[in-house]
């Protein structure tokens, strides 16, 4: 009974998600504000997650929501909101060069559709495919006996670490510390305070660093 139900529901779900993904993709192309575009892109990603689950890849469906719709789009929406100072509304959506830019995707789509049409007989579903659940994917990826992808996985971690460091270095205002950058007077006063504390307290050499942090320099009232 269940396979017959799936035979009906499977294509319905497929065309539902496919239509939703295409609609949201078109909305991304046409909408005006970046936040609307981000919401449209999240719609595409959620639809694709449903498609992955339909295509026997539940692990990637979960990962799509966790990483793409969760982490990446959250970061994107966050940056849009940080940088949105009314700048977005003054930018026209398209210009004259957009027509040239539109020709290339249309040409590409025509070429790809033509190729798919030519090789139609080669793209058929194979009966013996594996359902890629978490255990199957993990066993294949971390197969240290041979044929595993674990080295690529390690390189992926390395690339993410490098990206984090690069992002911090790029987005930082200045490579110096905040104390050196903004408050030079407080820094000097802190040194004086620390020297006085070292002179006054016999065993202040051991606690000198901690007194520096919470003793306020008396500059606010005197000026």
């Amino acid at each position: 009974m269940l396979p017959e139900l799936n035979a009906i529901l499977g294509p319905i779900y497929f065309w539902l998600f496919a239509g939703l993904a295409t609609l949201c993709g078109g909305a991304l192309l046409l909408c005006r504000h970046p936040i609307q575009g981000a919401v449209a892109l999240i719609g595409v990603m959620l639809s694709l997650s449903g498609l992955y689950a339909l295509l026997h890849s539940p692990f990637l469906a979960v990962l799509q929501i966790l990483v793409y719709a969760g982490a990446i789009m959250m970061l994107l929406v966050f940056v849009i909101m940080v940088l949105n100072q009314g700048l977005d509304d003054r930018i026209p959506r398209f210009d004259a060069y957009s027509l040239i830019g539109l020709a290339l995707p249309v040409l590409l789509a025509a070429l790809v559709l033509n190729t798919i049409g030519d090789s139609r007989s080669g793209i058929v579903e194979h009966a013996g495919t594996v359902r890629a659940g978490l255990e199957t994917v993990a066993a294949r990826m971390f197969d240290t006996a041979g044929g595993g992808w674990w080295l690529l996985f390690e390189f992926g971690g390395l690339i993410l670490l490098a990206a984090i460091v690069a992002a911090v270095m790029l987005a930082k205002r200045s490579l110096d510390t905040v104390a050196d950058d903004d408050q030079p007077h407080h820094e000097h006063a802190g040194h004086a305070e620390r020297a006085a504390a070292v002179a006054a307290i016999p065993d202040a050499a051991t606690v000198g660093r901690s007194t520096e942090t919470f003793v306020k320099p008396p500059v606010a009232g005197t000026h």
């Binding site: 496919a18 192309l29 575009g37 892109l41 890629a132 994917v137 790029l170």
Partner: protein
């Protein structure tokens, strides 16, 4: 046994990739450029997973594993790209991609 034609998956992937390319090439706001790149990466992932169901056994797992690395690269790309956007907007005070036309000088 499923009842989805893999060719429909490939058609959808091609349409989504063309949409992403169109967004990247035609829009002027730099956030839309980044989102178009993300859409293209998603379309490639869908194509991988669609083709995974046309090959037998262990080879089909390759099609399910490649998107994992594409997702990792996309995360790194979004991270660095948004940091560059923050850095550039701080200097130019504009989100229009035309404002960066003189970057080569």
């Amino acid at each position: 046994m499923s009842h989805l034609d893999p060719i429909h998956v490939q058609l959808l992937a091609a349409v989504l990739f063309a949409l992403g390319l169109a967004v990247t090439l035609t829009r002027r706001n730099i956030f839309f450029l980044l989102m178009g790149v993300e859409l293209m990466l998603n379309a490639v992932n869908l194509s991988f997973i669609g083709f995974a169901r046309t090959v037998p056994g262990d080879a089909s797992l390759t099609g399910h594993l490649s998107p994992l690395f594409i997702i990792a690269i996309a995360a790194a790309e979004a991270c660095v790209g948004l940091a560059m956007v923050i850095c550039i907007v701080r200097n130019r005070d504009s989100l229009d991609s035309d404002a960066y036309a003189d970057m080569k000088e």
